[in-house]
């Protein structure tokens, strides 16, 4: 190497280090790019490494509100109604999503309209106004959500919220993203400014761009987002859930015309672990989301007609009633194995719990048969083609890959793993990660005391169908009616719905 060239390189290196330190552009290592030239739109996902686990005690909801004060509020250059008026002819918007460990500011625009959109989008991230009036509006929305909608308008979502809050009580995961009714009141504009300054910094950002963009856009965004403040990376400990011993039951008492049931337990596996794919096959067979191939669905809905559906999960799956496929960018380091039983007639609630736990017991003890495994593997090989049909979703997956440290593409690895997997791999994963002795169970129902007594006394739960059932179902029911569940009185808790999320 000639000395001159060497010195240029050294100088170049020093210059780039200097520029990087000055923050003149976001480092290339923080880019997630997904060019799709045939796509006439451009998708943005700006990921900040913060989430509701970073809410200070007494200020639960702060991460959620801060993000929405960027995307549903004024900037220093425009009032919120002016932003709406400017976005409207573009048929575009941008939004925020806040989960336990991730905050995403996302937006999508037709490339014809990029010039008009870009300053609005970047202003939202870089120049929030933090107006009091916007804060009041956002708080009011959240208060209504916690006080009315979640408690009364969706018992299924209520049951899931209580399940997570119980299992993660005392950890950063142990409250809703939307916070608590008391903490919402306590959050001030200054709290939001401080949180923004602390978390929305250059060390916490990953910049995702996808679709039919020109490379100059990437450079502009790198340059513009370098105006984010400097600051330390947000390093947090993984949430450690409590060690569930036995069958723990929380009954949410309310005037309910049907009973929603959720149950689960923490699992020590995330999708970066090679075993995850085998466990995903077992889970798909047992409870594929909103799919009649789900075994639980077959037992509870198809054979017995007791409800609308029954599913299971090995990753957090919020708003399951409104989506068919797994969500992106709700990644977390600590996951649950979760079962969602859609509302059942109140008089069948004990029976359905027995059936659910019996099926889980059978899964853990017996695993999948080779036929069940083959069927499920073939199903998933094609079904996962539907997970990310759009650039926006593909970008979401790519960012989740970054979160989990997956080298390459999770969905491609999933397909490759399916190709080489055996039924033994699946059943080993089941035995390693799943169990049925230690569960947190949540009911949302009426007449809670009766349920508690039924559970702790292991009372028979005879079932009377309004419609005739095949002989094999009735035979099976004879076992289920008295299927023993070891639920101790001290492990059953009743809470009134109005006492939640205070």
């Amino acid at each position: 190497m000639k000395p001159k060239t060497f010195s240029i390189l050294i100088w170049g290196f020093m210059l780039s280090t200097l520029l990087s330190n000055c923050g003149s552009k976001i480092d290339d290592s923080r880019l997630v790019l997904l060019p799709v030239t045939s796509d006439p739109t451009i998708s943005f996902r700006i990921y900040f490494k913060t989430g509701f686990q970073d809410d200070p005690a007494g200020k639960e909801g702060l991460a959620y509100i801060t993000a929405h004060m960027l995307t549903e509020a004024a900037t220093q250059n425009n009032s919120y109604d002016a932003i709406i008026a400017k976005l409207f002819p573009l048929a575009a918007d941008y939004g925020a999503s806040v989960s336990a460990e991730m905050t995403i500011i996302s937006g999508r625009i037709h490339k014809d309209n990029l010039t008009a959109y870009y300053p609005l989008f970047t202003d939202a991230i870089l120049k929030p106004a933090f107006d009091e009036a916007d804060l009041n509006r956002i708080k009011s929305n959240l208060q209504n959500h916690l006080e009315n909608e979640l408690k009364y308008a969706s018992d299924e979502e209520l049951g899931k919220a209580v399940l997570y809050n119980e299992i993660f009580a005392g950890t950063g995961y142990g409250h809703l993203a939307e916070g608590l009714l008391s903490s919402l009141k306590a959050i001030t504009i200054d709290d939001i400014r401080d949180f923004y300054k602390q978390m929305y910094n250059r060390q916490n950002v990953i910049v995702g761009i996808g679709g039919g963009y020109e490379y100059a856009l990437v450079e502009n965004l790198q340059k513009d987002l370098s105006k984010l403040p400097a600051g330390p990376e947000n390093v947090t400990h993984k949430a450690v859930p409590y060690d569930i011993q036995g069958l723990k039951v929380t009954i949410v008492r309310k005037n309910a015309n049907a009973t929603a049931i959720s149950l689960g337990f923490p699992i020590n596996i995330t999708r970066d672990n090679p075993d995850w794919y085998a466990l995903a096959v077992a889970n798909s067979w047992f409870g594929e989301h909103r799919n009649s191939s789900s075994h639980l669905y077959q037992v509870i809905r198809e054979a017995r007609g007791l409800n609308y559906g029954d599913y299971s999960y090995i990753e957090n799956f919020p708003n399951g009633g409104r989506r068919q496929f797994p969500p992106v960018n709700v990644a977390r380091r600590q996951q649950l194995f979760e079962i969602w039983i859609r509302p059942v007639p109140n008089e069948t609630r004990h029976f359905v719990l027995r059936a659910t736990i019996r099926e889980l017991h059978n899964l853990v003890e017996s695993g999948l048969t080779p036929e069940q495994f083959e069927l499920t593997r073939n199903f998933l090989l094609k079904y996962i083609l539907h997970y990310a049909p759009t650039t926006m979703l593909q970008l979401g997956y790519a960012i989740d890959d970054r979160f989990y440290g997956i080298d390459g593409s999770h969905l491609e690895k999933f397909r490759a793993a399916l190709d080489s997997m055996t039924v033994e791999d699946v059943n080993n994963a089941v035995r390693k990660y799943l169990q049925y002795d230690n569960l947190q169970i949540v009911f949302v129902t009426n007449d809670a005391e009766q349920l508690r007594d039924d559970l702790i006394n292991n009372s028979p739960s005879p079932i009377k169908y309004a419609t005739p059932k095949p002989k094999e179902v009735l035979e099976d029911d004879k076992q289920l009616v008295n299927y023993p569940l070891d639920i101790q009185a001290e492990n059953v808790k009743i809470v009134d719905v109005q006492d939640l999320f205070l």
Binding site: D39, P40, T41, D81, I84, A85, F88, P89, L90, A91, H110, D112, A133, N136, R137, S140, N141, N144, E147, N148, K151, Y152, A153, S154, D155, E156, K254, N255, S292, S293, R301, E302, A303, R304, G305, L306, N307, Y308, R322, Q324, R342, P343, V344, P345, L375, T376, N378, F379, K382, Y383, L385, H386, P389, T390, Y465, A466, T467, P468, K469, P470
Partner: protein
């Protein structure tokens, strides 16, 4: 929070794109009608090997004209997954599982839609399976009764939402004769009585699941000639025999109606104002202008939204849904109000807004902004075969064809500020109005 009505809003997004001379729909398509009356619309698209397959059955809760049978179209949607002689339920499920298809169905007031997304290599299998269940559905009485239990579970699940309670009350109040009086899920008494209706279910299938009443839309990676050949092979033997339902037209409303309804949980009060509309008709200029009026008066960029939601913060939510239906239905405006004391105020603000649209021409630039919005909204949301077929389904169900899209489009781009004014004057009058207020009880 805001999601309750977003599904309705996109519908009018279909119709504005580009300039007058350009067709609205950017993809080429083929239409073929088989000898038995089955219409097939093929839309080849670049799609990474995925095909969307929609069987649009032009029967919905509108067609439930016999007393005591509300909710039946939706129940029947469930029955269609119960198998045939050739592929009994469990085998049908197993094959669908092997295909890894994203398969589901939904029912609306005007139609029932069965839709699948799957790998292009499985097209023939899907055509075989779909044609088989539409021609040869077979289930026994116990299976029928079991499925009615799942439907009642779905009813109970939906009933916890105050929006559902409000909607049900609105239609029960606004309609006397027409079947739009009941919601798609049906009256509770009828849903509870479903287990006794096995033989009715069979006549329902015989009357409505006929080729003349179904439109197939196949979009995605496909060879048009080969696909048509397969459709012929599998559907040609389907016998026609559609029997039209005896739906009683709704007499014109002559005076304002109102109702109050309570919700057994806790909720902020809800207000719904409905105005009788016309049937979907792209040649009816007033009707088409009404669709634009909705966005201008009550959309997110409207003055009313900005005043009530952003500035005064008296409502959590305000939205609207103007009718795109086979028969005259309702143009709805809905609000969730933060305080009971403000219900009258919000209602009056809605009326004042409409008065303003009647007496003053809307700003030309706002109308142009709306047209631009609709153009890009349309363009940005045709990104998968499923979105393409899904966006067309409602209009194909109402008219029986895809051509209406261009017709409505050409009418919409001609709409002037005067048309908007005349639509407000025509539709938004007290004698066509029904007002329902919902309050929580806890």
């Amino acid at each position: 929070m805001k999601e309750h009505f977003v599904g309705f809003i996109f519908l009018i997004g279909l119709f504005l794109i580009g300039q007058a001379a350009e067709p609205i729909f950017p993809y080429k398509y083929n239409v073929k009608i088989l000898g038995n009356g089955l219409k097939v619309i093929l839309i080849p698209l670049e799609s990474n090997g995925i095909v969307a397959y929609y069987s649009i059955t032009r029967t919905g809760s509108r067609d439930e004209w016999e007393a005591g049978h509300s909710g039946f179209a939706h129940l029947f949607e469930h029955m269609m997954f119960r198998g045939t002689v050739k592929y009994p339920g469990p085998m049908y499920d197993k094959i669908m599982t092997e295909l890894g298809a994203d398969a589901n169905a939904y029912t609306t007031d005007d139609y029932t839609c069965y839709h699948l997304n799957f790998a292009a290599e499985d097209l023939e299998k899907v055509i075989e399976m779909e044609s088989d269940r539409f021609m040869n559905l077979k289930y026994n009485e116990p299976e029928f009764k079991t499925e009615t239990g799942a439907v009642y579970g779905e009813f109970l699940k939906g009933r916890v939402s105050p929006w559902y309670v409000l909607y049900e009350k609105m239609y029960d109040t606004a309609f006397d004769q027409h079947t739009y009086k009941h919601t798609t899920i049906g009256f509770e008494a009828d849903v509870k009585a479903m287990p006794t209706m096995y033989s009715f279910s069979q006549s329902f299938f015989k009357h409505y699941y006929r080729p003349e009443n179904v439109v197939l839309v196949i979009a995605g990676q496909l060879d048009t000639v080969k696909t048509l050949e397969l459709v012929h092979n599998y559907y040609d033997s389907w016998k026609p025999g559609y029997v039209a339902p005896k739906i009683t037209p709704e007499p014109p409303q002559t005076a304002e109606r109102s109702a109050a309804v309570s919700y057994s949980g806790k909720t902020l009060p809800l207000l719904m104002v409905g105005f009788k509309s016309d049937a979907y008709d792209p040649d009816n200029r007033k009707y088409v202008a009404g669709l634009l009026l909705e966005q201008l008066a009550f959309g997110e960029n409207s003055d009313l939204y900005k005043r009530l939601v952003l500035k005064e913060q008296k409502v959590e939510y305000i939205g609207s849904n103007f009718s795109v239906n086979r028969d005259p239905k309702l143009n709805e405006i809905t609000a969730m109000i933060k305080s009971e004391a403000d219900i009258d105020y919000v209602r009056d603000q809605i009326y004042m807004t409409l008065e303003q649209f009647k007496t003053e021409a809307v700003d030309e630039s706002r109308l142009n902004d709306l047209k631009r919005h609709l153009k890009y909204d349309f363009l940005m949301n045709l990104d998968t075969p499923d979105n393409v077929a899904g966006k067309l389904a409602n209009f194909i169900a109402i008219t029986g064809g895809i051509e209406t899209v261009d017709r409505l489009y050409s009418e919409m781009i001609d709409i002037t500020t005067t048309d908007i004014q005349e639509a407000a004057q025509y539709y938004c009058v007290p004698e066509k109005r029904t007002v329902v207020i919902l309050k929580g009880v806890e």
